[in-house]
């Protein structure tokens, strides 16, 4: 069964409007926080809740908040990272489209907790229609006195702006996002300093994912302890999973962390099994950048334990036999899927999205794509598999931002778990007719 906390009212008609949202307990947490709580109490509750960043890294939110520098006379900022661009991830889009006020409510409460008077929602450029939805919601909130001066008579002032990106994946990296928000080229900054010390316009800044900020609302309403009881171990609460691929019921599901992966794939409550009765081949569990796992390793860990939907269980076994929960972009592949072709698509994406600032990523992503193109054209040799492995190992960990790793991990895991398939492409290139058709033979051969 789904455990709906964030998406409790997503089916309600017109929930995107302020009136309907308030009828369903909307903005209760703002009243509670601003009227009965101190900022530090909220930070404490978030710490107690065990909430972890939902954007991919899974860093404890309470700890991130407590790192925020608070020098006198310097403004602080809260920035919501709504630049959801990871292939396979579309949970924030659903949340913002359906219940924009949940995000705004979370932003107000979080801002109050952090002593922030100006916050920004940096939204992905391709989500232009959601930009309108959010802007409308912000306007409604201003009109209702939930934003602006002296919110609900509490003396707390807060302004919120929604800012669209221009369609660059790299701007989902928090420091590139800040650069972009400042009106500059979206290049990641070199850390340290971290945004908690010098972020937006050099001021202390917290950058949180949409889902993380939304989760602050139930934490304030029901208390951190109640939230920490949901889930399993250090993976507390619920997680929005964007399920896609060869499943019967793709979509966004809110799950309690700790359900088994098998249950998630096959239960009629969630994905509803593999489409057309096919067999499961592989899963990318957390968005395109996390390592792909073959069917046996995603259902059970290497130690034979059933794999659970949680940060720890998916990470069990390291990258040798495990993966990451990441942003919750759950891509399921059936037995007919070509891992090499899929990898080519991913590699093409990372090549296209590399910002070009540091050399391993700028040059390496393009090189990997070209080699995979060679596989697609049936012209690769066995040496190319080792070369791919070597290139990814020289990108991973050597770059300014995690895009290097995001580009390297899928390549590494595909070779690690599906090497025989690469060899098949070398030995029997005739098996890739469909691919030749898809990418137009001429182009591939010209590129190689």
């Amino acid at each position: 069964m789904e455990r709906r906390i964030l998406l409790e009212h997503d089916h309600v008609k017109d929930i995107h409007t302020l009136d309907v949202y308030r009828q369903h307990n909307g903005y209760k947490s703002v009243e509670k926080a601003l009227k009965t709580m101190k900022p530090d109490d909220i930070v404490e509750e978030v710490k107690k809740s065990g909430l972890r960043g939902r954007g991919g890294a899974g860093f404890p939110t309470g700890m991130k908040w407590s790192f925020l520098a608070k020098p006198e006379g310097v403004p602080r900022y809260l920035v919501c990272n709504a630049d959801e661009s990871e292939p396979g991830t579309f949970k924030d889009r659903y949340l913002m489209e359906r219940i924009p006020h949940l995000l705004i409510e979370g932003m107000i409460v979080s801002s109050f907790a952090l002593g922030v008077h100006t916050s920004y929602i940096y939204i992905r450029g391709e989500y232009f229609y959601i930009l309108e939805i959010l802007q409308k919601a912000v306007k409604e909130a201003y009109a209702a006195g939930l934003l602006g001066k002296n919110i609900l008579g509490s003396g707390f002032d807060h302004d919120m702006y929604v800012h669209p990106g221009a369609g660059a994946y790299i701007c989902g990296e928090e420091t590139a996002l800040l650069e972009s928000l400042e009106g500059k080229r979206g290049n990641p900054r070199i850390k340290p300093p971290f945004p908690a010390v010098a972020g937006l316009w050099g001021c202390p800044t917290v950058v949180n994912n949409v889902e993380t900020i939304a989760a602050v609302v139930p934490i304030v309403n029901d208390g951190g302890e109640a939230y920490s009881k949901i889930g399993i171990g250090k993976s507390t609460g619920t997680k929005l999973i964007s399920a896609s691929g060869h499943i019967n019921k793709p979509g966004v599901y809110e799950i309690e962390m700790g359900i088994t992966v098998e249950d998630f794939i096959y239960s009629p409550d969630f994905c509803g099994g593999i489409r057309n009765g096919k067999k499961l081949k592989a899963v990318v569990a957390g968005g395109s950048s996390v390592p792909i796992l073959p069917a046996d390793l995603i259902i059970t860990t290497a130690a034979g334990q059933p794999r659970l939907m949680s940060y720890e269980s998916l990470g069990d076994g390291g990258f040798a036999t495990g993966t990451m929960l990441g942003s919750g972009g759950f891509i399921v592949m059936d037995e007919d899927t070509s891992i090499v072709k899929n990898l080519f698509t991913f590699a093409r994406f990372y090549h296209h999205e590399s910002c070009g600032q540091c050399s391993p990523c700028r040059e390496g992503t393009g090189w990997m794509e070209k080699i995979l193109k060679k596989f697609m054209a049936g012209k690769a040799t066995l040496k190319d598999i080792d070369l791919l492995w070597d290139i990814q190992s020289k990108i991973e960990g050597k770059t300014i931002c995690p895009l290097g790793e995001a580009a390297a991990w899928p390549v590494a895991s595909a070779i690690r778990h599906f090497r025989s398939e690469f060899e098949e492409y070398v030995k029997h290139p005739q098996s890739i007719q469909d691919v030749k058709h898809y990418f137009r033979l001429n182009n591939i051969e010209q590129a190689v």
Binding site: R185, H351, Q357, S359, P360, E363, G366, W367, K394
Partner: protein, 356 residues
């Protein structure tokens, strides 16, 4: 003052020093050769560094307080030293392997047109590849090409050679008024360009030539005049109302072929010079000659002393393998007078006849 150990050599440095600066201090004070190569960092310009990744090192011990090693290699040019930090550069096989990888990345799309490149002979990328790279290439695809752009009468831009170190962008941001030059596009299509191809017209634009580590920005007034190793560097100065007037002349016989800033052993200019000095004053009579320049760093312009560093490293390794002792990185070098002697012996044993 805090203590940092790089490749087994310990030095006291002021707080706020980066690992790279500390390594350079060790080299300067003890005559060692442990400084990581840097293609994008430039001490005279703010916020440079961190892009090329050639200076990556392993931090074996974070500090006295927090001795944990750093999980990933770090860019030494942008990482400050902590008290008690232990860093591995040349003594870490992983670092050397990773650096060789970076060199390969920098070269896969480089045209390798050194025979017709004015920078050849004093090119940081040549030195880098020679000292840290591997032989041969594994890249079999067409190299990236850009349409040529004219950026004015003084500076020649060849984008195909560019390694996107951003130094020239920082020069234009920080020492020339009214920036018209930056990076356009993204990823491996990123391109140094000027705003709608405007020429860079201000008195200090020529400094982009000095800071460029490769042949992407070269001096148009020197274009194809001579290979740099056929010209003799001479320090000279003149009274200049715009800049310090302290320059280096590159002479062939009595002719001044080229004027540059005075680059130190790290390839960094001591003071930026103006375009008048650089491009307009090409007569010996314009200058007060101070005397020939002593080149202390090793490259083709040191007249075939180029092999020095590689031989040193190789020979140390051999000694190490022969007698099973610890590699003497630094020990022999601790005496500043020692290095030259050791090196000359080494060079002679390797049969180079040009060393003196």
């Amino acid at each position: 003052m805090i203590k940092v150990t790089i490749d087994d050599i310990t030095i006291q440095v002021p707080e706020g020093t980066t690992i790279l600066q500390a390594a350079r201090m060790i080299d300067e004070q003890f005559g060692a050769t442990i400084a990581p190569p840097a293609m994008c960092y430039y001490s005279k310009l703010k916020t440079t560094g961190g892009y090329c990744r050639t200076c990556i090192v392993n931090v074996e011990k974070g500090s006295e307080k927090d001795p944990r090693p750093m999980p990933k290699p770090v860019a030494s040019c942008r990482t400050n030293v902590m008290d008690g930090m232990v860093v591995r550069n040349n003594t870490s096989p992983e670092v050397l392997e990773a650096r060789a990888g970076v060199v390969e990345f920098l070269l896969i799309n480089h045209p390798l047109d050194c025979p017709i490149c004015d920078q050849a002979g004093e090119c940081d990328l040549q030195n880098l590849a020679y000292e840290n790279g591997k032989e041969g290439t594994r890249y079999e695809f067409r190299r990236r090409e850009f349409a040529p752009i004219d950026i004015g009468p003084y500076v020649k831009l060849n984008m195909n050679r560019c390694i996107l170190c951003y130094r020239c962008v920082k020069v234009c941001e920080q020492i020339t008024p009214g920036r018209v030059h930056g990076v356009i596009n993204r990823g491996d299509h990123s391109e140094i360009s000027t705003y709608i191809e405007n020429s860079i017209e201000n008195d200090f634009s020529g400094n982009v030539i000095d800071v460029c580590p490769v042949g992407a920005l070269t001096d148009r007034t020197f274009r194809f005049k001579s290979r740099v190793w056929y010209t003799n560097p001479v320090d000279a100065n003149r009274e200049c109302e715009k800049c310090c007037g302290k320059v280096r002349l590159w002479m062939k016989g009595e002719d001044v072929l080229r004027v540059t800033g005075r680059l130190n052993r790290w390839g960094e200019t001591e003071e930026f010079i103006c375009n008048t000095c650089r491009f307009e004053k090409k007569k010996t009579a314009d200058w007060n000659i101070e005397g020939p320049t002593r080149i202390s760093h090793h490259s083709v312009i040191s007249q075939n002393h180029y092999e020095l560093r590689k031989l040193q490293l190789g020979l140390r390794k051999q000694i190490h393998e022969l007698d099973g002792t610890k590699p003497d990185l630094g020990e022999g070098a601790l005496n500043p007078n020692n290095e030259g002697q050791v090196s000359s012996k080494q060079i002679k044993s390797e049969g180079s006849s040009h060393y003196d």
